[in-house]
Symmetry: C2
Subunit: 457 residues, 2 copies
């Protein structure tokens, strides 16, 4: 809140300065902030005043600041800037960006721009860039950077520290160093902490950890982020098919991955196609395209529910009051099922529940749903009988249905995500919309079946 | 998957060895793994064979391994172990744990055990522990550790490095070092990277960053984790009311916070009381207590919907077929609203959408919902008129209702989370169950109002 407020003031002043074309005053104001904040402000300027004014300001930044700010901008703003600055300026930014940030930008640029940039890049680097551009978007390969510290096993601590001193500034991290053999295979890991606290003539091979954990270029980013969470790594090495070290992934990139994966789960759980684009940046048509398919699928389920109801029209027309309790039943069934499915989806995601716990989950949900169903039914019986003044048989029909529906909903809600995982479907898809549509159907069938039985229609 | 499988094999063998009381064989087997995996296996042993057998094995571990394994165990297993081992063993573990891990354990132990432990702790440390125990559970204070590297501004790089060499092993991180003045106020930050690559006779004050970002002991953990995400910090300093440096928070603790906050959002969005206990560890009664309140609140809303229906019984009894389309309308309305609210809740959480974007969100949802509503209504008109063989007026009633309901649902779904945030309620509460119950009400009213109008009943 506070943060938002402070920014607000700065931005307002800045926008006014820029509209009055006082660029050098604006430049002085904006440069008082750190580069993360400058990037945030620039984002606002692009949004409010358009890319041209923003770029005029951007060009007045010192060269090193402009590259850092560029790196912190969201990808769509980066592309916008690249589309209006000169080739020479593009080249400068691309050359100075950290390798992994550069790959992120290149991945989003049109092919002709990329090839223009690559044509001016030295051959060795160009080859490397092409390899990186070919890794699948959510793979370890697309997250990694080749800018790591590499040591040899027969170096002494002093030699290792001198090497770090020499190249350390250009590396993504210096805190974990990687020991490679002649075939470029990863043979050990040394932390800078250990190097700094060790005697200077000890050999690297005497102190390195050999039982290190690494990932392969094609491993999924979710697997990589799970390892970071489990071990609290600063960085993890990435190897290719021949077990050669090709890059490292650092923890700051993992923070983005975790956010991305969470967003993905949220979207799936709401029946929206997964997308990395920001809500406001996405076109109306894209929003429609992302939301329509699931609404349609769920609608088909709801149509079936409607069809079932038509089969019971005779009961309904005789006891029209039953309709009044239909939303209560369907709604409570849906809500109960959604609770259980969300709990299990999240527990599966963080590993609190695994597939072989299915029987335990079933037994837990059976007891929980019986207690909840019993309590809510009792309450409803009292309300329908005493308050609404309906007959005891109607009250009994509603309450028996409610108990049944809550139990079925919670059991399905608990087990369906596990079943999905078992057959390789993302459990997050078995969330509220899906469960609700299922329990709607179950509610209607249960309700009318019990009505036929109890009311003897 | 692979990972789970490998563990499975080891655990099966281990469980058999333990049941056959072959403890030293079991010990040799388990110690082949790293401490994170050992902790995971021990967790399984506690679950399958009970705490006694697990502790017999735990006691055979080398002292340093046992403390590390203990640190990686979930808090409830830690408490179980403490409840069966001797006071001397407890003391050893508590003494050797990293300060922040120790605080986590002490926070969960019964008061009498804590005071027994504290009575044997040196006075200075005891005072510090008591201060830490008093910070609110989700505050920066409760996350931090006092084990950081502290430097003086007039030290040279060489002196700083020697100091790190001396105390570095006992510190949570050595990669960011903190410069304090005589009043223990934080005056600057130096990274180990900069120390290592700088000339040895440069003064710390010449190279330190003075415009550092820090948090206060009482800041909420969510605010802290947002800063980590924004800046990619390795660690962040924590100051008290007098701006004195009292501790640091490292990124590995933030990974846990992020998971915790996400789980909290998931639970809120499903109408389940927030809890940090694992699903399977929680008693049936606790599950009931966590789920019942929201189900009850939502039920009241559903009762109102039912009450509204009774007001329209005359229409219903005349055109009983209208009931068949009620689930379709309510369900599609709920699903549409849930999509929008989830998108906005998540966008608010990661900062893609802020409160002043309300008008943009409204305009986006108006257009998206009109398109979706129009397409789905068209489809339904065709289905009801051609397939179900109902009259055009019935089809028109359903479809006009559907367009209206989808539009209202999506607009409410988009704006309600923002309104909640505005008045200080967690937007995550305005998710599917809440939105669905609201749209149910709106669907019923819209449907019957349009039926009265169009069918002229």
């Amino acid at each position: 809140m506070d943060n938002e407020l402070t920014m607000e003031v700065t931005i307002q002043t800045l926008l006014e300065l820029l509209e009055a074309k006082k660029y050098s005053r604006a430049r002085d104001e904006i440069l008082k902030n750190n580069t993360v904040i400058i990037a945030e402000i620039l984002e606002e300027i692009i949004e409010n005043l358009g890319i041209e004014k923003a770029v005029i300001l951007f060009r007045t930044f010192p060269k090193d600041v402009s590259v850092e700010v560029f790196a912190y901008l969201p990808i769509d703003d980066q592309i916008e800037i690249i589309s209006v600055i000169t080739d020479k300026e593009i080249q400068h930014i691309i050359d100075e960006l950290a390798f992994d940030d550069m790959i992120d930008v290149l991945e989003e640029l049109p092919a002709n721009v990329v090839s223009k940039i690559l044509s001016r890049t030295p051959k060795e680097k160009r080859k490397l860039i092409n390899t990186f551009l070919n890794y699948p978007e959510t793979s370890a390969g697309s997250l990694m950077t080749p800018d790591y510290i590499s040591l040899k096993r027969d170096m002494t601590v002093e030699e290792a520290l001198n090497h770090i001193k020499e190249v350390g500034m250009a590396r993504e991290t210096v805190y974990t160093c990687y020991v490679k053999d002649a075939e470029r295979k990863l043979v050990g890991i040394v932390s800078l902490r250990n190097l700094v606290i060790s005697d200077s003539n000890i050999k690297v091979e005497e102190m390195m950890h050999e039982d290190m954990i690494y990932v392969s270029v094609l491993d999924d980013q979710e697997y990589v982020s799970d390892l970071f969470k489990k071990y609290g790594f600063l960085a993890i090495p990435v190897v290719d098919n021949e077990e050669r070290l090709v890059g490292i992934i650092t923890f700051d990139d993992i923070l983005d991955v975790i956010d991305e994966e969470t967003t993905e789960d949220f979207h799936k759980m709401a029946g929206v196609a997964v997308s990395t684009e920001e809500y406001l940046d996405m076109s109306v048509w894209k929003h429609v395209k992302n939301r329509l398919p699931w609404l349609f699928v769920l609608m088909v389920a709801l149509m079936i529910t409607g069809f079932i109801i038509t089969k019971f029209e005779t009961i309904l027309s005789q006891v029209i009051v039953l309709v009044a309790y239909l939303p209560l039943l369907m709604g409570t069934g849906g809500n109960s099922g959604a609770q259980s499915s969300t709990l299990i989806i999240r527990s599966l995601a963080i590993g609190d529940v695994v597939l072989k716990d299915a029987a335990k989950v079933l037994w837990k949900e059976v007891r929980v749903s019986f207690m909840i169903g019993f309590l809510l039914s009792l309450l409803n019986f009292a309300k329908i009988f005493l308050l609404d003044g309906e007959g005891p048989l109607i009250a009994l029909t509603v309450c028996a249905s409610m108990l049944t529906v809550i139990m079925i909903a919670k059991i399905i809600g608990g087990l369906l995500p596990m079943a999905a995982k078992k057959i390789g479907i993302d459990p997050a898809l078995m969330a509220s919309p899906m469960i609700t549509s299922l329990t709607d159907m179950i509610s209607v069938v249960t309700y009318f079946a019990l009505a036929t039985l109890i009311l003897g229609i």
